[in-house]
């Protein structure tokens, strides 16, 4: 029996079930494989807040753009931050207007850029979850060890488990189980999600692995269980990656952090510890950012919490498209609106 048939059998006769895939990489994989439209009608997948670019606030983009306009500054960033709109424009527009913005693939590249440009200041936009934070932390440590003096970090790194805790407490969010983010769990360990009171499965990213995780979720629902299962055992351990956790704790402390669409979530952000202040952009180059609230009908917040699907947003596909996006969910390659726009909606 194929996985899809197993899912059909398990779902038959059950109430409508909503499972949330937390991770943006899962969202993209699900859309690319067309998984949504082969599932039974009563099994729905909703996307969660697991795209780091999507949950980054306007204020952060505004700060990055303000830094990019300072004399001698080189901004180093992952590519998908370029087109995310802040309250006034994007980094891509700042680059077209003369700012120097370099797209990198690993934070460690920043050290090379800093060493090659000794008279300039390199600011790395440290955005991401537990997946990328250890590499950023390792870069901070390497920069300190090598005495690199012209590299700064603008940190908006976030932690996934506190966000899930918040979602479960939100009565507007109706979820019967979670597909847990495999890459995040590599670092945190599957045990970091034990607090969840609904079925949950750590899943890999191949279409078959996602289907396998859905089978596990349905079996848990069937048996009335609610546990954290690990269907990605080849790389995810119960305790996670202890070395990565250690350097995270060495460089960062947990602080309350603002998420786009979700508001402030206690202990969900990473701030550099005082002993690394010389690498902290906000400490070395404090900015006065005026809060220019954007007024839009964008419903990113509800999309990121899985309360509505992107097509329920009045802007989706009209005022908000990948070319001229209003919200970051339409910009990031891992954004749910972008995935929906790019891959969704085809019926034969």
């Amino acid at each position: 029996m194929s996985l899809v048939e197993t899912i059909e059998n398990l779902a038959r006769g059950k109430k409508n079930l909503r499972f949330m895939e937390v991770c943006g990489t899962h969202t993209v994989s699900i859309f690319r494989a067309g998984i949504r439209n082969i599932l039974p009608e009563n099994v729905e997948l909703v996307s969660g807040p697991g795209c780091p670019v999507c949950v980054t606030c306007d204020e952060y983009i505004d700060a990055a753009i303000a830094y990019s306009k300072m004399d001698g500054v080189i901004i180093a960033t992952f590519g998908d931050m370029l087109k995310v709109p802040g309250s006034a424009g994007t980094l891509a527009e700042a680059a077209a207007a003369g700012a120097e913005v370099r797209v990198i693939y690993s934070p460690l590249d920043c050290i090379k850029i800093a060493l090659e440009n000794p008279t300039r200041r390199v600011i790395f936009l440290a955005v991401g979850f537990e997946t990328t934070a250890p590499t950023a932390a390792a870069t901070v440590l390497a920069a300190k060890a090598q005495g690199v003096r012209n590299l700064l970090f603008l940190s908006a790194q976030k932690l996934v488990p506190p966000a899930l805790k918040m979602l479960l407490a939100d009565s507007a969010v109706k979820v019967d189980g979670f597909l847990l983010p495999g890459h995040v769990a590599v670092v945190t360990g599957a045990d970091a999600f034990r607090f969840l009171e609904v079925p949950a499965v750590v899943a890999g990213f191949e279409p078959e692995e996602i289907l396998l995780a859905l089978v596990n979720l349905l079996r848990q629902v069937d048996a009335g269980r609610a546990e954290v299962a690990n269907e990605y055992k080849s790389v995810v351990k119960a305790e996670g990656n202890l070395a990565a956790k250690k350097i995270l704790a060495q460089v960062y402390e947990e602080v309350d952090a603002k998420w786009r669409g979700l508001g402030v979530i206690p202990k969900s952000g990473l701030r550099m510890r005082a002993e690394f202040a010389e690498f902290d952009a906000e400490k070395v180059l404090p900015l006065e950012i005026k809060k220019a609230a954007r007024r839009t009908a964008c419903r990113c917040g509800e999309v990121l919490r899985g309360v509505i699907s992107p097509t329920e947003c009045p802007l989706f596909g009209k005022a908000c498209q990948p070319l001229h996006a209003v919200g970051p969910c339409m910009i990031s390659v891992e954004g749910v609106c972008a995935a929906w726009y790019k891959y969704g909606g085809l019926r034969l």
């Binding site: 067309g34 949504r36 082969i38 370029l82 693939y105 990948p322 085809l346």
Partner: protein
């Protein structure tokens, strides 16, 4: 947005907007408006292209070979036999003469392989920092084949969609070199002249409706353009699309979709269903077509869009690539 961004050069939606909003209304005429890879001018076809690829030497070719093959292929997919090429070269002060010799030699070799002559040209030198090593522009003229009409308006539901081989190798090679990824020596740019194979295909079936070389934006962009221009849907089958495992790997690491990666030696053909097999067997006789495959069909449903039947049986859209971050791929 009031300035050019790198996305305007990526062959996706931004490039299309640039053409629609500035080029077409400014230069409007009946030859331009077909927006094919080359213009049909009575009995001859003409095309031009500029080459700014970085790195200039890459596995499987260099900017010189690319500048000939690209223009030859643009003529061939117009339904023409390429004959004459012009070359304009812009050099940056300080460029190595030995490199220029190598590039010129590979232009000559590619021209010989494609059976075209480089008949006129121009050289300009700009100051250090005012160009990046070398840029090449080539233009080409070819003779249109009698009885052949390559045009989106001939595309009909029920026709088959063919691809001449494994996709994405050119872009994957360039990306791997830029990002320091090790690829096995067997993976290299597919840069090659396709005119010999395309002529044989047209001899076997003059009623081929559409031919496109899948360069910037890859197969995804080309199929979307065909679906849009012809007002039909196109449904392709993921299982049948030839992609090398190594290219799949590069895509996974760097977050790309092989369908969106540039090729420099792959043609997409839309052909009558009853001659699809005959055309495929002709393609397989050529080195550049040994892995040719029938990857899908033209449909009446979802007009203007491209759908993909996935490995696990799902269905999704193949969208027009939106200026991804792969600058200077050709």
């Amino acid at each position: 947005m009031s300035k050019i961004t790198m996305a305007h050069g990526a062959g996706g939606k931004f490039s299309a907007d640039l053409i629609r909003e500035i080029i077409l209304p400014t230069f409007d005429n009946e030859f331009l408006s077909e927006l094919h890879d080359g213009a049909k001018l009575g009995k001859i076809a003409m095309t031009t292209d500029s080459y700014v690829i970085r790195p200039i030497f890459f596995r499987g070719g260099d900017i010189g070979k690319l500048s000939i093959c690209g223009t030859v292929n643009d003529l061939a997919v117009t339904g023409a036999v390429p004959r004459f090429i012009s070359a304009g070269v812009i050099l940056e002060e300080g460029f190595e003469l030995d490199d220029l010799k190598k590039i010129a030699a590979s232009m000559a070799e590619a021209a010989k392989e494609a059976g075209v002559k480089i008949v006129t040209g121009d050289t300009k030198v700009v100051g250090r920092g005012q160009a990046d090593g070398i840029f090449i522009n080539t233009a080409g003229v070819g003779e249109l084949l009698d009885g052949v009409d390559i045009s989106a308006k001939n595309v009909r539901a029920g026709m088959r969609v063919l691809i001449s081989g494994t996709i994405g190798e050119h872009a994957a090679t360039i990306l791997a070199e830029r990002h320091g990824l090790e690829l096995p020596a067997s993976v290299k740019s597919d840069c090659a002249p396709l005119n010999g194979m395309i002529l044989a295909m047209l001899n076997a079936e003059p009623k081929i409706a559409m031919l496109r070389d899948a360069t910037r934006g890859g197969v995804a962009a080309v199929l979307n353009e065909i679906a849009g221009a012809a007002g039909v849907g196109i449904l392709i089958d993921e299982k049948k699309i030839p992609v090398r495992g190594e290219v799949r790997g590069v895509c996974e690491i760097l977050g790309f979709d092989a369908l969106e990666l540039a090729n420099e030696g792959k043609v997409v053909a839309v052909v009558p269903a009853d001659s699809a097999e005959k055309i495929l067997s002709v393609m397989k006789n050529f080195a550049c077509g040994v892995n040719a495959a029938d990857i899908g069909e033209v449909t009446e449903k979802f007009a203007g869009r491209v759908g993909l039947r996935t490995q696990i049986g799902g269905l999704r859209i193949v969208d027009m690539p939106v200026g991804n971050l792969v600058p200077r791929i050709c």
